[in-house]
């Protein structure tokens, strides 16, 4: 797409971004009961009824994956999660979690990490459906 696509992934930089929030994010990821009750609070899920719009799904498959791999992700993996966090979420921050998990902060951190590696939500990707 752009020339930045070929830049190698800076794992050290990702890890440096992950470390300060590690305690919070690990807790949020580990306590998620995978109950799916956040689904209907997302207007995009309600509009499309596709599990790929469930807030927890977006967070687990973006930030969750990055933490699981301790930051050692490759460009393909970041490109894969791009759609989930840039296109499938507008970060309106209105997702409801019965356990009180702060889902937007997870998606927002995943976005920051992707951006730092040149993986962008290019408009009209930047906020939802083209």
């Amino acid at each position: 797409m752009t020339e930045t696509t070929f830049r190698p992934i800076d794992v050290k930089k990702i890890q440096k971004m992950l470390t300060p929030k590690k305690g919070k994010m690990k807790a949020l990821l580990s306590f998620c009961a995978h109950c799916g009750l956040c689904a209907e609070s997302c207007f995009l899920y309600r509009n499309h009824l596709d599990p790929k719009y469930v807030p927890a799904y977006k967070a687990i498959n973006s930030l969750g994956k990055i933490y699981k791999k301790k930051g050692r992700v490759d460009r393909n993996q970041l490109e894969e999660m791009k759609e989930l966090i840039f296109k499938n979420c507008v970060l309106c921050g209105r997702c409801y979690c019965p356990l009180g998990i702060d889902i937007p902060s997870m998606i927002s951190l995943a976005r920051t990490i992707c951006r730092s590696q040149g993986v962008y939500g290019v408009f009209p990707y930047s906020a939802g459906e083209p």
């Binding site: 305690g23 919070k24 807790a27 580990s30 306590f31 998620c32 009961a33 995978h34 109950c35 799916g36 009750l37 689904a39 209907e40 899920y45 599990p51 790929k52 469930v54 927890a56 799904y57 687990i60 209105r94 409801y96 979690c97 019965p98 356990l99 009180g100 998990i101 702060d102 902060s105």
Partner: protein
């Protein structure tokens, strides 16, 4: 007899270990939570005249209506079955083991005191209800697309950890299969569940209260004076 030794081990030392891990886990998670969050600076709202005129308080009746409507649009209002079943499930998981007659008899045998307990038949009925609810959640995890998409092996494993103590307890009461094996399975799985609360997603037992009451958000149940 090896089996008897095992029985006394899991009834004695292992039980204490499980209780300590359980209590330690709760303390650890709570301390961790308070370390990860900080208190927000208190804010003092001082509306100007202008504000008071434009955005006055709504009447009691309006707020009552607001409450009724938010209830209608909540999980309870939208997915009655899920909301009622999940509430029952979580209540039962606490009260069933604590107020079960058989458990209280053991308590009396050991320490000469016991809590109020259900009658045998009530305990049995509630166990059946619990197993039905657990079955419902299993079914939901498999059958509902949005939940299936979130499910992984660990979810089924944790489900098993949660259900086994109740299932084996049910089997013990009926004396199906070999009573002794079932009893050992029952105690072991119960201890495993207590330990798992610290290390798995079952930790939401502690996290739920901390996050929903202390963290300020649209959905906080308390004042929400802390932030991550």
């Amino acid at each position: 007899m090896g089996e008897t030794h095992l029985y006394y081990f899991i009834r004695g030392p292992l039980l204490w270990i499980a209780f300590f891990v359980f209590a330690g886990g709760i303390v650890f998670r709570t301390v961790q939570f308070f370390k990860l969050t900080r208190k927000k600076d208190p804010l003092i709202y001082s509306p100007t005249k202008n504000h008071k005129e434009r955005y006055g308080k709504s009447s009691v009746q309006e707020r009552k209506m607001q409450f009724a409507i938010s209830l209608k649009n909540s999980i309870l209002g939208q997915h009655q079955a899920v909301a009622i079943f999940t509430s029952l499930f979580h209540i039962l998981i606490f009260i069933l083991p604590i107020f079960l007659l058989a458990h209280n008899l053991l308590l009396y045998e050991s320490w000469n005191f016991s809590l109020w307990s259900f009658s045998e038949s009530t305990g049995d009925t509630l166990t059946i209800l619990f197993l039905f609810l657990a079955g419902f959640f299993f079914f939901r995890r498999v059958a509902v697309a949005k939940v299936r998409a979130l499910s992984r092996a660990s979810d089924f494993f944790v489900w098993l950890i949660t259900v086994t103590p109740f299932l084996t307890g049910f089997i013990c009461y009926r004396q199906w299969f070999d009573y002794h094996t079932a009893l050992i399975m029952h105690i072991l799985s119960g201890e495993l569940m207590l330990i798992a609360i610290t290390f798995t997603k079952l930790g939401h037992m502690v996290f739920f209260f901390l996050a929903r009451f202390f963290i300020g958000s649209e959905f906080s149940l308390g004042r929400g004076t802390r932030t991550w």
